[in-house]
Symmetry: D2
Subunit: 353 residues, 4 copies
Amino acid sequence: MSSSFGRLFVVTTFGESHGPGVGVVVDGMPPGIAVDAADIQHQLDRRRPGQSALTTQRSETDRVEILSGVFDGVTLGTPIAMLVRNTDARSQDYDKLKDVFRPGHADYVYMQKYGVRDHRGGGRSSGRETVGRVAAGALARAALTTVGVSIVGGTVQVGDTKALKRDWEIAESNPVRCPDATAAEAMAAVILRARDQKDSVGGVVEVVARGVPAGWGDPTMAKLDALLGAAMLSIPATKGVEIGGGFGMCALAGSQTNDVFDGEKYLSNFAGGIAGGISNGAEVVVRVAVRPATSIGKPQTAATAEGGTTTIAIEGRHDPCICPRVVPVAESMMAITLADVWLRQRALRGRAM
Amino acid sequence: MSSSFGRLFVVTTFGESHGPGVGVVVDGMPPGIAVDAADIQHQLDRRRPGQSALTTQRSETDRVEILSGVFDGVTLGTPIAMLVRNTDARSQDYDKLKDVFRPGHADYVYMQKYGVRDHRGGGRSSGRETVGRVAAGALARAALTTVGVSIVGGTVQVGDTKALKRDWEIAESNPVRCPDATAAEAMAAVILRARDQKDSVGGVVEVVARGVPAGWGDPTMAKLDALLGAAMLSIPATKGVEIGGGFGMCALAGSQTNDVFDGEKYLSNFAGGIAGGISNGAEVVVRVAVRPATSIGKPQTAATAEGGTTTIAIEGRHDPCICPRVVPVAESMMAITLADVWLRQRALRGRAM
Amino acid sequence: MSSSFGRLFVVTTFGESHGPGVGVVVDGMPPGIAVDAADIQHQLDRRRPGQSALTTQRSETDRVEILSGVFDGVTLGTPIAMLVRNTDARSQDYDKLKDVFRPGHADYVYMQKYGVRDHRGGGRSSGRETVGRVAAGALARAALTTVGVSIVGGTVQVGDTKALKRDWEIAESNPVRCPDATAAEAMAAVILRARDQKDSVGGVVEVVARGVPAGWGDPTMAKLDALLGAAMLSIPATKGVEIGGGFGMCALAGSQTNDVFDGEKYLSNFAGGIAGGISNGAEVVVRVAVRPATSIGKPQTAATAEGGTTTIAIEGRHDPCICPRVVPVAESMMAITLADVWLRQRALRGRAM
Amino acid sequence: MSSSFGRLFVVTTFGESHGPGVGVVVDGMPPGIAVDAADIQHQLDRRRPGQSALTTQRSETDRVEILSGVFDGVTLGTPIAMLVRNTDARSQDYDKLKDVFRPGHADYVYMQKYGVRDHRGGGRSSGRETVGRVAAGALARAALTTVGVSIVGGTVQVGDTKALKRDWEIAESNPVRCPDATAAEAMAAVILRARDQKDSVGGVVEVVARGVPAGWGDPTMAKLDALLGAAMLSIPATKGVEIGGGFGMCALAGSQTNDVFDGEKYLSNFAGGIAGGISNGAEVVVRVAVRPATSIGKPQTAATAEGGTTTIAIEGRHDPCICPRVVPVAESMMAITLADVWLRQRALRGRAM
């Protein structure tokens, strides 16, 4: 269960970064929905490394194979398994790390948790695990499209450079995936500078769902905020999440942050589209804090398995800023979460939906 | 399932704010653990309204009754049900709100979701639902104590006043529950000013777990970050959560934020005690953004059930700042989450734990 | 989770037989369904001891209190908690059994499992735990009624006396709850003879669901057969279950047991209304093997906590045949199971249901 | 979730009989357990068709590929995905069945449930789905071996021929997998006669777990009986299950069926190793009713998609008696169930296990 997300639209990923492959099983996809393998591949291509100078140059081809649950281009209502083979796994890069715990990585805690690990890369902690999420996200998007829900996203902060606009339609046209063309250039410069310094830099990714009707979610333990929070914080390298006004609301007054519904629309969206855990019909807005990538070329002190320390410089090919590649993952997790609450609401009230 | 939290330490709350009572069932509490009803009552008293001038003056007595699962002061390993009767439910305060949707409240989305609601208060959306969480949290704390884990917490920001210290031992001695005595006074002033203006103010609550060994949590969907994120964002009025360095890391470099383990201890704690989703042995640190309370006395425009608008001033007795009362709830949700991952780890490796 | 049944219509019972009370939380009941407390009480009264000379003479009144989730006689879509206080708990009957493990009972395994137990009665293993199931079953029935599904049941075998007819409408008019008036008298005689001999006797209970449309259930792990099997075998004292033709089909040929659908109806019902795990539109028919009650007045050899043996005669008031009281419990578990698969199907295809 | 079994040892199968392949993901396998791919393959070979004249002559090679979770022959504690490609899928056999609903099959209910189906074979209802279960079962067995639990099984009834002995060690040496050499020959004759008549015959499979300590299972909803019942009734073509004395106990007296524990051992095993839902230390004994295979060569009346009827003779290659091939599947489901309750018990009491 530790590798599953969702209750009705259940996404289970599998695979180590340096094993035979990575993949996913989606159980709960409704039947009769048209699924185009090219759409899934398109989302995987967005996540793939090597897309620009800003990301790692590993050349993973990431071809997805649908193993079940789709027949004649239509979902059967049965589990959809998808597999992506690992091809460019340069395991030798990791040989020298067998007995060293990389700072910020999960190497040490893996040994504490499991007592054993595949030292060739991060195993399940690798960003490569998100391949399955993105493939599942493409299915979730196809399902949500049938009820008019769509999702956009982008990088809205890199280092201390922030996007001032939300022109979502242009986000995909720059390598940072920033919805503000001017900020995008500044962000790219920040990322390249980090790369040149063999260092990394953090940022913020924002994802937005449009068309979510009022009434999805739950009032207590399964608040839509809570589910989205779990979804986002399950993405590697994320350390914070906020809905709508988020942390910025703390310094304001209730008379400022209560979104007034005038009978037709909300006059503000501090709630981020979710009131009392339930969607209120406005855009659902979520921001995710992405920490600087832990794999850096700069020499660092590291603990060894023997209990001492050493100095390492991580030489493999790594991302100086993960944000651009987190965007499709965060969108996918939002889609998966919304598909799940949509089905929950169908269970609760059936016809009404 | 919408009212349950956890997989092995399963907490299910029930009850509307103006029905017969609120309560909780905890399924998965290990057997043989000493449970003192006074400890549970103590935590409920911390959550209770009417503790100081800073909180609502509703005089709920909130006496807990243990209905099952405890015999001779020891847990039986069976479900523990606990009930708190509602006594001070001034339903008449709500009569005039029957056909008005309060801004920022869940009134409107409730109708969209359920098609029916108990208009006398927020129903399940009321903060009163957290009574069950706090009672369950007291059990989780008792369980965690057996393995050396303890939890502290407090208010670290109100409006734009921030705590500069973390003297956890003094947090309980001021009504704000602030771990910085100087900041506490400033915060209290901010809250009273909001109250006098018939308004409310937001803030940030921080909770910290000590003694969590390395190895709890999971590397993918069930990252400890994700579970804690869901736990916190399931608390009413929360709109953001961050682990360790959180959003503050976005503007930093990887060489700054990689916590170096020197073989004995971590030299920093940007990870907030969680690496790759798994506890690393450092303190687990979580901060929660608490929005300004939505119930305010100031006149506001509100939508009506008929589709028009009206002006309302919410007259009942409400909290000008929820933070002090969120503290025991956030601590409880952290305890519940950690009890769950502890049991998961026992399932995974048994003896080793 | 060990005390919960169902995924969408989630029933969680709590309470020991000799603690403050027993009860249940039902999470997932759809909103807007009329619920009459008298209907719930009626089902509890059917389960109650002391109904006739055939059952134990304990005089439990079993008054149910609805604690949440219902307002103005209509479900709110939120958890419905129900409580029945324990009143006639003659704990002293059990004092002499503190260090003796009753044959056939769970006393010994409880100690092995939990390391601690409430020796005053069977704790959670007591038939009294089924109070919560019957209360939840009454809700499930109310939900199913809205889609035209109803449930009947009765005792169809006691000792080796079998019912030859299925006149369900008369089952409730005899104390055995047998749908065959002639067999009912013979069965009563068998039960009284067992009682006079301070012994007990087993039997078979059959439950039937009418009006279940084709399409409920799942083809693999969650076959409707499997869910019903789990439901029935979770009832105390049951040791077998069969669907439709059951064990009797083993000796037949496929050409005999393939139910032919002639375009309008099935010409036989060996499948018991379930083909490939999915309801086929015929009546769903389930039979449950009920073992002879383990509590008997006859002297028996019993193991002691110290590791030796002793002779005991269990003196309390017990049922010589549990079947009549299992009937409402089995009906309830069938209703709970069907409510769950109904909601699952709504989640899967929504509008279509 | 509909394709998953278990809570802690979670087995999720995927794949249609005539799609690219079938497989399974096992999430919750403890780390550090030696896994030999040859052992998994051995179990799959036992399930495979074409083993003798008694089973279908389809020549599936069923080579398993482990995609994740195992490194250097040892489990990593992460999800283990396994894939078996479909190779001998003679889809053309099914073309004529596109618009005909085979009697006893799930064709009709599939359309009612999903509104769409892969008509080339039974889809997920095909016995081929059990490939994943057997692969998962091999892992469960490996896990259970570490705590001394082993599982045996065999065919104990075919038609009305019953095994009189339980020589488990000889069961695998005859094609019926019968633990009674004499009965085995008679059973084989019954099966061949059914085959010659283009018909099929039912039977009973028994599985036994040895070495299960007292204390596994739960007293209420998750009784070990209930979990095993669900496990068995989730196997295709099963219509009944009994534990220990099962239906045979109904005609007996409590003084006969109460298993007496004399301080060292049980003097009988009517409970089938489970008292009050919890293992009692005796062998766990389960019997499963296997209906006659629904695919028969004899002409039968069948409903058509257009609402009329037609006559069909199912020509493909099918099993005249499924029992021999159900044996490894039933053993696997028992192993999966016990692995799950073992981990549950570790979660509950950890060290003690």
